[in-house]
Subunit: 414 residues, 2 copies
């Protein structure tokens, strides 16, 4: 499946962005959906029809734009553009919401000279309110002249998709395939209602790789399971989660299939891009002060390890303890024990960073000062080894639970 | 199964307690497991061998006292007493922890002249630390003279089982069976790590009903599914959850079996007692300012309704919104939509108290002032009607998510 870990086959381009892959421009502006003056409408456009793939929320309430995007990608696996607004999720908005999402698609398609079904739509923000379409229309008409192939255009797009996020999230890598330089880049948003299941928040991947939409779709789904689906902020799966990938093919490599020698390298690059974006969302979780990483190994299977890692990372008690810099391994194993997965309660090790706190389910005397110091850091890694046959492993990411999470969410809608 | 709702067949005894049922005494004292001077060791004793039943946490890490209690109840379905300490959960404490739990059982059995297997043991508090047994021993030896059949003894017991609880939780009802007055009473503790699965926290039920231990066991399990298993504070299932019921039989009724005409009345009384205790735990959830009740109806089945109700009540976003008095129905349906249960996203009604906010999945203009006023109250009831064939229904209880929850749990262990 091309996801085996190996020596990194790609280079990180710190100055790169979603417009670095050949063929892409991006931009954003403020049309008036947010109360602030921050950007709230943006787009990524490809100069050629890009092979496209998407994964979507499993929430049964799916926002109108997801319907439109599924349809656009489903028609022939090609996209010229994705248009995104923040400040309003266009979710649970009925027939009018659907009509609005279609109008966004059609109007922007006309602006850039694309077919309607070559445009995807994404929205994020408050649930249950109709879009102020007069403002959206004005914004869409002004958007084409904001599109640029440079970093500024990419930054404007990234700003336009944020809600309660504090930082923008973007990454770009390059990988050599068939002697050509292939770029893979991505941008994402997400801070609350984060507990992806099959897809996540809003994520956008651009690449100039030559790859068919079916191969891209399969790869995107696999990579999502190791990246976006392994993060949680608050256990709440959104109605609007969407990850869209567009491949322009302009890098000029031979078409990537699972038989291609460069497939694994491309998969590794894509996985890295998605992992960086996913971790950035966890780190920027509402109110978070830290990124928390849970590594489970020695589980009955990889799936079992994934379930246990996600239960630990989602535990409010574990998250509160990390916020309080408390090396509370009792809460960690209590979470593991309720995950509904097999484990032997007599053979569990828990380390917090390098500090062993539980060995073969027996408490270990450890340096509390050192643990406090470690837990005060920006990133906390929790290692759990179950010592089960099967040797399953998984990594999940999340954040701490803080006063600010409560403050933000006690007063979000109003 | 005797759990049908009907006109209340029982009377609430506001002055009653766990020592009101005939044959029971209770008491508590401070032996030094808690840093404060609050009681931390208590017991309920029955003057005759009581028919006994227990349900326990499904967490795979089970504390030592659960092993002992299972064994005692399992031997012949009879208990003379249950001894409980707070301040230390005696969980993940290995062989020494087990030895300590057995010693608690044996020493208290000797003090009251009971057989060792007639005594149950329960513990609650910090995970992973050994009990200070010198203090426990001194406490056990002093406990018998603290036992009393009055309200003061019951209050002392209730105090002794609390940890981060703010209030004690006790209830007593009476029901007429065979012309005899049968009492059913209960006490519980629980404030954090509350997301019971099959059992819960610590709960103790006393009754003077004449009922066999097998019938009591079956009834207790059924009632638990409608009461303790329908509450959540933080989604974390504890390692120490335990609910123990003791029936002295001294009321003198004919033995209660499912064939007995008074069985349903007794079941209703037991269910009421467990529901009051369960709701009290939810209301006293760590940091909570409100009791939240979620009523789901029109689901595909009762089980489906239960899963949806528990997902809504457990949503950090819903809980934060309730704390902020925000009528955020979007988060309510987002939680319903990710519960993994069937629903039609086009036919959902949501009311907050009497205020309809969503009808057939369409937002309803409602009086925001009135909603704010309602949400500021002590109890918030959320009604969700899915309008599915099957007409399944369920009620779940929880609390809001507040700054104080984070404060309490960021600094619990240290």
């Amino acid at each position: 499946m091309g996801l085996e870990q190996k020596a990194t086959p790609f280079s990180i381009l710190t100055e790169g962005s979603i417009t670095t892959p050949k063929g892409f421009t991006a931009g954003g502006l403020h049309c008036g959906l947010k109360k602030s003056t921050r950007h709230d409408l943006g787009a990524i456009v490809c100069e050629v029809p890009a092979a496209a793939a998407g994964v979507y929320t499993t929430n049964l309430f799916q926002a109108a734009p997801l319907k439109v995007t599924r349809e656009s990608i489903g028609s022939d696996g090609r996209l010229r553009a994705v248009i995104v607004n923040s400040g309003n999720a266009n979710a649970v908005t009925g027939k009018q919401g659907e009509a609005d999402a279609y109008e966004m698609r059609d109007r922007f398609a006309e602006q850039i000279g694309a077919a309607a079904d070559e445009v995807a739509v994404a929205s994020t923000g408050v649930i249950g309110e109709l879009l102020k379409m007069d403002r959206v229309r004005t914004g869409i008409d002004a958007l084409p002249e904001k599109l640029a192939s440079d970093r500024a255009g990419a930054d404007d797009f990234c700003q336009a998709i944020l809600t309660t996020d504090l930082v923008q999230k973007m990454v770009c890598v390059s990988v050599e395939i068939d002697g050509r330089t292939v770029h893979v880049a991505g941008a994402s948003k997400g801070s609350g209602m984060i507990h992806p299941n099959m897809a996540t928040m809003l994520g956008f991947v651009t690449t100039d790789a030559n790859i068919g939409s079916e191969a891209l779709q399969q790869l995107l789904r696999e990579v999502t399971n190791y990246t976006f689906n392994m993060i949680t902020v608050d256990g709440d799966t959104s109605t609007n989660d969407m990850l869209v990938a567009m491949a322009s093919g302009l890098a000029g490599n031979e078409e990537l299939t699972s038989a291609h020698a460069g497939y694994a390298d491309f998969a590794a690059a894509l996985r890295y891009v998605c992992e960086v974006l996913a971790k950035a969302i966890a780190r920027d979780g509402e109110g978070a002060t830290k990124l928390v990483e849970v590594q489970v190994r020695g589980a009955a299977s990889d799936d079992s390890a994934r379930a246990i890692a996600k239960t630990i990372i989602g535990s409010s008690l574990v998250k509160s303890a990390v916020f309080g810099a408390d090396a509370n391994w009792g809460r960690i194993i209590a979470a593991a024990g309720r995950a509904g997965e097999p484990l032997n309660p007599e053979t569990v090790d828990v380390s917090i960073g390098d500090i062993l706190t539980l060995e073969q389910s027996r408490p270990v005397a450890f340096d509390e000062e050192a643990a406090l110091e470690y837990l005060k850091g920006d990133t906390v890694v929790i290692h759990v080894d179950l010592h089960m046959d099967g040797g399953g492993s998984a990594t999940a990411w999340g954040c701490d639970l803080t006063y600010d999470y409560v403050r933000i969410n006690a007063a979000y809608r109003t």
